[in-house]
């Protein structure tokens, strides 16, 4: 049980305005670092399979139109266009199994929008 480290290498850790010498836990080190969401990136919110892709690269798609169907947990999730924009790049193919947070479709602003 006693897994005392002989000479621990303490890390500078800023809690407020002051930096403390301390150790990190494995869980803290592996925590997910927050990234500001980019509205031009359509990511998978759940791991699943791409059943259908309804758009093509270069196409301008209106807000609310279907982009693709992501099947997960036996549910067919229809992923819709969040706002009117141009499809810049499609990174997945029908039949692909994608993990969570996979960048599936990249968007581009439409001139004049």
């Amino acid at each position: 049980m006693k897994n005392k480290k002989e000479t621990p290498e303490y890390i500078d850790f800023a809690v407020t305005a002051r930096k403390y010498k301390t150790l990190f836990t494995r869980k803290y080190q592996n925590r997910k670092v927050w990234v500001d969401p980019n509205p031009y990136e359509i990511q998978s919110f759940i791991p699943g399979t791409i059943l259908q892709i309804s758009v093509q690269e270069g196409e301008v798609v209106n807000e609310g139109a279907p982009l693709l169907i992501l099947e997960a947990m036996k549910m067919q999730n229809r992923i819709e266009m969040p706002f009117t924009a141009k499809i810049k790049k499609i990174n997945v193919n029908v039949g692909d199994r994608v993990p969570k947070d996979t960048l599936m479709i990249e968007l581009e602003a439409v001139e004049g929008e």
């Binding site: 049980m1 809690v15 002051r18 010498k21 301390t22 150790l23 990190f24 925590r31 993990p99």
Partner: protein, 514 residues
Amino acid sequence: MTLKKNILALRQKKAIVQKGGGDKAIEKQVAMGKMTARDRILALLDADSFHEYDMFVEHEERNFGMDSKELPGDGVITGTGTINGAPICIYAQDFTVMGGSLGLKHARKITKIMDHALKMKVPCIGINDSGGARIQEGIGALAGYGEIFYRNTMASGVIPQISVILGPCAGGAVYSPALTDFVFVVENISKMFITGPNVIETVLGEKISQEDLGGARVHAEITGNAHFYALSEMECLNQIKELVSLIPHSNQQKAERIEPRKPKFRKKIENIIPSDPKQPYDVREVIYALTDESKFLEVQELWAPNIVIGFGRMDGETIGFVANQPMYLAGVLDCDASDKAARFIRFCDAFNIPIITLEDMPGYLPGVDQEHAGVIRHGAKMLYAYSEATVPKITVILRKAYGGGYIAMNSRHLGADFMFAWPGAEIAVMGPEGAANIIFRKEIMEAEDEDAMRQQKVQEYIEKFANPFVAASKGYIDAVIEPEETRELVLHALEVSKNKDDHRPAKKHGVPPF
């Protein structure tokens, strides 16, 4: 002479049940590096103290070919015995009998011994080693689990409940341990999860091993589901014995008092803590300096190590310790640390164990992950647990006590009976650097040398506010003490708190931020 014959027949009948699933199955169990259910009970209990009941209980399932299946003891051994002389009720699932699967009669044997424990006011220990629900019995198995969970809940806070995971414990089975007070796991042997790797892979495409998903280490370090982690079954059984000797048999009793002894730890207590509040140290050394024989049984050592909880004795009596650990994450409070401490405080309060809080903390852990994980509601559990507790509550502020953390760590305002502070304690709304930056923003910005002015203002703040005397002048701290006096004063505080009589308004139950 017929009685003699009957006795021989009984012995034969018992011998068959005692063999469990038979030699082949036992061989397989041993090959997996596991002890048999019976050997586990015998190794845990005092020699010759185990008495078994319901040996001849049989299942009643008639479908799926079960009518021809004989399952000795229906896959679980139940009985009573003693650990270091203390009476306990115990059950152990027998993996050699149909994988220790839980059918209705198997569950009814367990609920019967649980009912017995609750009525007799003795601790109940469950050794889990089961493939899960006995599918052939269908709803009967689910009913069995439900009846166990119900009793776990009824017994919660009345008798100590201990779960030992010595094999698989998956699906519904995990919720009985989760409802009990202490969960013991063993490396390479314990496996706990709601849905196993196969289901996860099929449904989500995520590949993970049983060990990485719900092995002993994962539950001891990452999930916090386990309280004690051991490398072998024998080490685990010894941990259980130590714990049982430290806790009372029920909420109507106090833990057994033993001969008081002096601490063995020889380091001067004031030399443990660096005066620079930025430097870390192991707060467990302060606990060693306080407890009889410097013994301390740490609970959840690997999970959220930024707070230390566990049991030690002072003047021969069991005490619960809660201490910030500057060695990890600077000793901050976060979601896990708050959960960990709150549950421990509620256990101590339910079972008449006084709580000593050793405080040295810089505040709550900043971060998007913490805020989104609900550090507000998790942190609130700690406030709730301390405020609600009516056992003697003593706090010693060792070094830092800033902001919300100062309130949360059993402050006077949450009902601490005794508040002590060492002379170097910094009790303030926040760390001096942060406070000076805000209060003296204008002066610092307008100064020719900003850094020098900031340093000066920080120093000013420390002298004026970041010390124990402001709080002492308001009576929030009862005494500013020399570190060397700590043990003596805490012992005295415990002594005069012996007949503490504190009541809460009558209610069905509170609504803590679970």
